[in-house]
């Protein structure tokens, strides 16, 4: 098994159109590559499908967050209204659960919304102050503008400087660049 070459993060190929990227990503996946990623200026679902990234955990985190918000507010209201500070409001029962639903509903949304956003960022490993990809000279000028990149990472057991380059060149890219750490 070839060992990842010291000091290289991966090899990126630049493409002009999303269709070229999706084809190349599919070819790499079919050739047995697994540690790879595509970089696009807008979400390209087909590229994610091509590299075998089908589902993510954001929905689960959101669900858990929402349930936490629901329980937190409903129990806070129950505790305050029945134990901590019971108030007689026009003879209504201290445990007026229909009235408690509304703040609990709001906090369900609050907690699940915050979980969705921060969960997404945490799963993405963001915020991050440094990433080796930005060392590639053509990445900064294109990845967030109008270019599409496929990166085969050096941690993949198939990675080999010459063979990977040859493989990427065969996919018809604009250029292939080594990315150093």
């Amino acid at each position: 098994m070839p060992v990842a070459v010291e000091g290289i993060y991966g090899m990126i190929a630049e493409f002009d159109t999303p269709s070229d990227l999706v084809r190349a990503a599919q070819a790499a996946y079919n050739a047995g590559w697994r540690r790879m990623d595509c970089y696009t200026p807008y979400p390209v679902e087909e590229a994610a499908e091509a590299i075998g990234f089908h589902k993510n955990k954001v929905s689960l985190i959101t669900l858990v967050g929402g349930l936490m918000g629901l329980c937190a507010m409903f129990s806070l209201e129950t505790w305050i209204s029945t134990l901590a500070y019971p108030l007689n409001i026009a003879g209504r029962p201290t445990y007026s659960w229909p009235a408690f639903i509304i703040p609990a509903y709001e906090w369900t949304i609050l907690f699940s919304g915050l979980s969705a956003c921060f969960g997404m960022l945490a799963l993405n490993g963001l915020p991050s102050l440094y990433h080796p990809l930005f060392n590639a000279p053509n990445f900064r000028t294109g990845a967030t503008d109008d270019k599409f990149f496929l990166c085969l990472e050096s941690t993949d057991p198939k990675f080999d400087v010459t063979e990977t380059r040859a493989f990427l060149e065969a996919q018809g890219p604009v250029s292939v660049v080594e990315v150093e750490f």
Binding site: Y42, E45, I109, S128, D146
Partner: protein, 463 residues
């Protein structure tokens, strides 16, 4: 108007590429020049916002007695403006969340600044209840905090529900807005020439690099936030309408209030989006991104929500007769023909008579000048709707001996006009320093974003 490549109605002008979209939107922000027009607008809006600062300072020094609120009208401009501003904000959430769920691609051009409008409207709205409480430095008593006094809020009151509804709404709107801008901050970081801009946008982008794995999680989170913001936006104005509907006062005590408030909110919000979008597309030459189709569609949404509002007005009148309640009947008579009856007719003209007769015609809906005019008229009308609900229900209640009137003071006007200045100032800063149209969402809609099999591309390209 049909695009031959996609076979769909064109929402973006022809000839746009990924590069031209980035250049168009990013360069508005990244240009080192300060345009004189922008500075002039900022100077005017800033001075009007200063009026708010003066009014609020005087209020803190003297107390709410400087306003016209007294018995019987204890809720004056503060509540009117609160409801009006929150309502304006709702269209932003509707555009960014509900239209996303309905896959209305045309919304992509207008959702960012509509969301910004939401946030700035909530800033203006949220201030009013806080300064209305009289001792704003004790505003934190609204929240369930373990204070040494051992006093807790009363959870059966709609006014407390408001605290949670509005604070959640503000938080979720900011999160949704910021999350939407992260990829665009990445673009700005990579495109900026000055070190300072690279540093600031780099920090704001949180290190976004456009990995498709990130994009997929990001898309899931956006969809979830949209799905959450939709019931949220409906609940916020519903809870606000409970402030009125839970009371036993004639004119407030009706079950139609929640849907009628929400429809009214969206009606005025779309009017405000038009008020902002029409000058923006003109001054920043965005006619290819915010096209006549957008203006036309917003006109249609206003026609629909305006219809619901009209139904609400009709039902209020019908119920005041059908309820056979003397008090309800008097309230409606007084609202239409009493000393402040003029305000009811202003509202009927601005919200029903004028827009709902003219918005039916596509010719008028795509007439930019006319749509700008109608947006101002509807916003005026919706302000008067809140005025009518708050004031005309309160100033003549059950006992003629307790009747009074309401005459807003100069501080009421200064505070209200000041929030208009604050809103405009914030919006001007937004269009100068933040990407006002989401670049990635526009790129997604371009014909070149369609994934095609290899055979077709080579045959089509011919080289």
């Amino acid at each position: 108007m049909i695009d031959p490549l996609t076979g769909e109605f064109r929402v973006i002008g022809p000839g746009q590429t990924f590069k031209s979209v980035t250049a168009k939107i990013a360069d508005i922000v990244l240009t080192p020049k300060l345009s004189l027009g922008w500075l002039a607008f900022l100077a005017v809006a800033g001075s009007v916002a200063t009026l708010l600062l003066v009014a609020v300072t005087w209020l803190f020094l003297k107390g709410t007695g400087i306003w016209a609120i007294t018995q019987p009208v204890a809720w004056g401009f503060a509540i009117i403006n609160f409801v009006w501003w929150i309502g304006i904000g709702h269209a932003g959430t509707l555009i960014s969340a509900i239209l996303l769920l309905f896959k209305q691609g045309w919304r992509n051009s207008i959702n960012r600044f509509a969301e910004a409008m939401t946030i700035f409207a909530v800033v203006c709205a949220g201030m009013f209840p806080l300064i209305h409480v009289g001792r704003p430095w004790l505003g934190y008593w609204l929240f369930p905090l373990p204070l040494t006094m051992n006093v807790w809020p009363q959870f059966r009151s709609p006014l407390l529900w408001d605290v949670f509804a509005v604070s959640t709404y503000a938080t979720i709107s900011v999160v949704f807005w910021y999350m939407g801008m992260i990829p665009d901050f990445g673009t700005l970081r990579d495109r900026a020439h000055s070190k300072f801009a690279q540093y600031i946008y780099g920090l704001a982008s949180l290190g976004w690099r456009g990995s498709v794995k990130h994009w997929m999680r990001y898309e899931t989170a956006s969809l979830l936030l949209a799905g959450l913001a939709t019931p949220l936006v409906l609940s916020v104005h519903t809870v606000i309408s409970f402030d009125f509907a839970v009371a036993v006062l004639p004119g407030w005590h009706t079950t139609i209030f929640p849907p009628y408030f929400v429809a009214g909110a969206i009606y005025s919000g779309f009017a405000m989006v038009l008020t902002l979008a029409i000058p923006l597309r003109h001054f920043y030459h965005l006619e290819n991104l915010v096209t006549e189709r957008h203006i036309d569609n917003m006109g249609k949404v206003m026609l629909g929500t305006g219809g619901i509002v009209a139904y609400g007005y009709g039902m209020e009148v019908f119920m005041s007769w059908y309820s056979a309640s003397h008090w309800e009947f008097f309230m409606m008579w007084n609202r239409m023909f009493g000393p402040m009856g003029w305000s009811y007719w202003v509202l009927i003209f601005c919200n029903i008579a004028f827009p709902l007769t003219t918005l039916w015609f596509r010719k008028l809906r795509t007439n930019i000048g006319f749509m700008f005019l109608i947006s101002i008229i509807v916003n005026t009308g919706m302000w008067f709707e809140r005025f009518v609900i708050v004031v005309t229900s309160l100033y003549r209640d059950f006992l003629p001996s307790s009747w009074g009137t309401y005459r807003a003071t100069k501080w009421d006007y200064a505070t209200y006009v000041g929030t208009l200045g604050l809103f405009t100032t914030l919006f001007l800063l937004f269009v100068r320093f933040l990407p006002m149209i989401p670049m990635n969402e526009i790129k997604m809609m371009l014909p070149s974003a369609k994934i095609t099999p290899k055979a077709e591309t080579t045959a089509g390209a011919g080289d």
